[in-house]
C-alpha cells in the first residue's frame, strides 16, 4: 500500500448539495460531489477523453461527462454509461469541522 497524505480540499459550504466542484491538490485533479450531505471524491478527469467531470451534470449519484456524456457512479467510480468504459479512481474523503479532506498517495511531487 502506498502512503497516503491528507489534503484540505474545501469547506463543506463550498460544495452545495447535489453539486460537484473540481480542485487541484497534491498534483491531482480531484472532483468532490455532495450527495445529500455525504461527500465523495473521484478523479476529476474522465477516463474516456480529457474533460473535467466537475463541469458535468450530476443526476443522483451519476456524474455525466460534459464532453461525450459518459457516466460514472461518484460513490464507487464505476463507469455506468457509454462511452465511459474504464472506472474512475476514487479517493478516501473525510469531513472535520466543516472542512473536506482527501487522501492522496504520496509521490515525489506532493511530499
Amino acid at each position: 500500500m502506498p502512503d497516503l497524505k491528507w489534503f484540505r480540499l474545501a469547506s463543506t459550504s463550498e460544495v452545495p448539495a447535489d453539486e460537484g466542484r473540481g480542485f487541484e491538490v497534491g498534483g491531482k485533479r480531484i472532483a468532490v460531489f455532495n450527495l445529500g450531505g455525504s461527500f465523495h471524491c473521484v478523479s476529476d478527469i474522465c477516463t474516456h477523453e480529457y474533460a473535467l467531470l466537475s463541469e458535468g451534470y450530476l443526476d443522483g449519484a451519476c456524474i455525466e461527462c460534459p464532453l461525450h456524456g459518459g457516466g460514472f457512479d461518484v460513490r464507487t467510480g464505476k463507469a455506468i454509461m457509454a462511452p465511459a468504459e474504464t472506472d474512475l479512481k476514487t479517493y478516501p474523503v473525510e469531513c472535520r469541522d466543516g472542512e473536506i479532506f482527501v487522501a492522496i498517495e504520496v509521490t515525489k511531487e506532493n511530499v
Binding site: 447535489d18 474533460a51 463541469e55 458535468g56 451534470y57 443526476d59 443522483g60 455525466e64 461527462c65 460534459p66 464532453l67 461525450h68 456524456g69 457509454a82 462511452p83
Partner: protein, 417 residues
C-alpha cells in the same frame, strides 16, 4: 437455439460497436465484420482536427479498439473487402472475395463525401475530400506553411479543416454557396459567431458563391466563380456534405430515402436486415419522422441498440441526436431538432463563446446549440428526452436547463403526452 450467423457490413465505429454488442449478447454466434478500407475500425472525429495538426499521428492513435481485442472477442474482421450485392431473400451477400451467408445482417456502410462535377478535371493530388484516414493523411501532407487552400463548403468539416490549415500556416479561402456557415446544424447566432471566429483567425470567406469551373494551370488550380472572379489555389478541399452509402439496400429492393429506412428498432423493410449509423434513416418516435444523424454519438449508441435488437432485445432507439465540433479551441455542441419551434432563447455571452440558444415548441425544449456548454447540454438532453413542459416563469433569457432538469427529476414538471 441454433447457432446464428451475424454479418455486419461496414467496419467503421458503428459496425465495430455493433459487432461487439452482438458477440457479448450471443456468445455462441458467429460474427463477421466486413470493411472496405484496409484499416481496422477507427474514430473519425480526429480526422478533421488533431490528425491534421500532428505529423506523427497514425492509425494506431485513433483505433476504436486495439486490433487484438476484436480477434480475442471472436469477431471475424475482414478488411479490404467490398460487398457488391445483398440478397435478402436468400440471406447471402456477395463480396469481391466470395459470398457470405447470414441469418441477420446490419448495414453500417456509413456515408461518402459528395463530389463536385466541376472538380472532375483536377489531378488527385490537388483535389481532396475528407472522410477516411487515408484522405486525412493525404490532406495533411498538403497543408504546409504558405500553401493556398480553397475549401468549398462551409459545413463543420470545411470549418474544422480551415482552422487546422490556418494552424499550419496555410492561406485559407472558404467558398460557400449559401449566405452563412454550418447552416445545416447551426442557427444564425451560432453561425455568425463561427464566421467571426474564423475571420479573426485570418480565413477569407466568399459566401453566396458558386464555383463554376476549376482548371489546373501550371502549378496551380484556378477556380472560376459564378460572378467571374478567379481564385488561385495550390490545393482544393471539397467538403459539401456526404451521401449515405445506401446502394446495397436500394439495389436489393429495400426501402430507401435519404438513407436506408428503418423503424425505431433499426429494422429495414426486410425483417432480417438492419441498419444503423450514418446510413440509417430511422423512425424517431419523439420527432415523428425518419431521422438520419451523421454523428459519432449515433454511430456508438444507435449501433449498440440496433445490434441488441438483432439478437432479440426489442428496444427502440430514442436518443436525442447530438453533434459537436471543435474549431480554434472553441467547442460547439448541437443537440435535438429545431424545426417547427415557436420560441428561441439566447443565453450567455456569444462574444465570449460561452452561450447557448435553446429552442422550444409548446414549452418543450426541442434543441440546443451552444459553445462551452457541458453541464447545460447534458441537462438539456434530459429535458428533451423526457419531453418535460417547462413552466413559463423559467422561459427567459437566463433559462437554466440544469435547474429545470433537476426540477424534472424531482417530479415537479409535467411531461407532454
Amino acid at each position: 437455439m441454433a447457432v446464428r450467423n451475424y454479418l455486419v457490413i461496414g467496419a467503421g465505429k458503428a459496425g465495430c460497436h455493433a459487432a461487439e454488442t452482438i458477440r457479448a449478447a450471443d456468445p455462441a454466434s458467429t460474427v463477421v465484420l466486413v470493411g472496405q478500407e484496409a484499416h481496422p475500425p477507427y474514430e473519425r472525429p480526429p480526422l478533421s482536427k488533431d490528425l491534421l495538426l500532428d505529423d506523427t499521428g497514425g492509425i494506431a492513435d485513433i483505433l476504436v479498439r486495439p486490433l487484438r481485442e476484436l480477434s480475442d472477442k471472436g469477431i471475424d474482421l475482414r478488411l479490404s473487402t467490398r460487398v457488391t450485392r445483398l440478397e435478402p431473400a436468400r440471406h447471402v451477400v456477395h463480396t469481391d472475395r466470395g459470398t457470405i451467408p447470414y441469418d441477420r445482417v446490419l448495414l453500417a456502410t456509413g456515408a461518402r463525401p459528395r463530389s463536385l462535377p466541376q472538380a472532375g478535371m483536377l489531378r488527385a493530388e490537388r483535389l481532396h475530400h475528407l472522410r477516411t484516414f487515408d484522405d486525412a493523411e493525404r490532406l495533411r501532407h498538403r497543408l504546409r506553411d504558405g500553401v493556398r487552400i480553397v475549401v468549398i463548403g462551409a459545413g463543420l468539416i470545411g470549418l474544422e479543416v480551415a482552422a487546422a490549415a490556418r494552424a499550419r500556416g496555410c492561406a485559407v479561402t472558404v467558398v460557400e454557396r449559401s449566405g452563412t456557415v454550418a447552416s445545416r446544424i447551426a442557427c444564425d447566432d451560432i453561425a455568425q459567431a463561427l464566421l467571426r471566429l474564423h475571420r479573426d483567425n485570418g480565413v477569407k470567406f466568399l459566401l453566396d458563391s458558386n464555383v463554376e469551373a476549376m482548371d489546373e494551370r501550371g502549378p496551380e488550380v484556378v477556380l472560376t466563380l459564378e460572378d467571374g472572379t478567379d481564385l488561385r489555389a495550390d490545393t482544393v478541399l471539397v467538403s459539401i456534405g456526404v451521401e449515405p452509402d445506401a446502394e446495397l439496400a436500394r439495389e436489393a429492393g429495400l426501402e430507401t430515402h435519404d438513407g436506408v429506412r428503418t423503424d425505431e428498432y433499426g429494422r429495414t423493410s426486410h425483417p432480417d436486415v438492419f441498419a444503423a449509423g450514418d446510413v440509417a434513416a430511422s423512425w424517431h418516435p419523439l420527432y415523428q419522422r425518419h431521422l438520419r444523424s451523421e454523428s459519432w454519438q449515433t454511430a456508438l449508441a444507435q449501433a449498440r441498440c440496433v445490434a441488441g435488437n438483432m439478437v432479440g432485445t426489442e428496444q427502440p432507439y430514442l436518443d436525442i441526436p447530438v453533434q459537436w465540433s471543435s474549431q480554434n479551441g472553441k467547442l460547439l455542441h448541437c443537440a435535438g431538432c429545431s424545426d417547427g419551434c415557436d420560441l428561441a432563447l439566447r443565453c450567455g455571452d456569444i462574444g465570449a463563446f460561452a452561450a447557448a440558444v435553446y429552442f422550444f415548441k409548446n414549452q418543450c425544449l426541442r434543441a440546443v446549440q451552444g459553445f462551452s456548454i457541458g453541464r447545460e447540454l447534458r441537462a438539456a438532453i434530459r429535458l428533451m428526452s423526457a419531453q418535460h413542459v417547462i413552466p413559463l416563469q423559467m422561459l427567459h433569457e437566463e433559462f437554466d436547463p440544469v435547474a429545470a432538469a433537476k426540477a424534472g427529476s424531482r417530479g415537479e414538471l409535467a411531461c407532454q403526452t
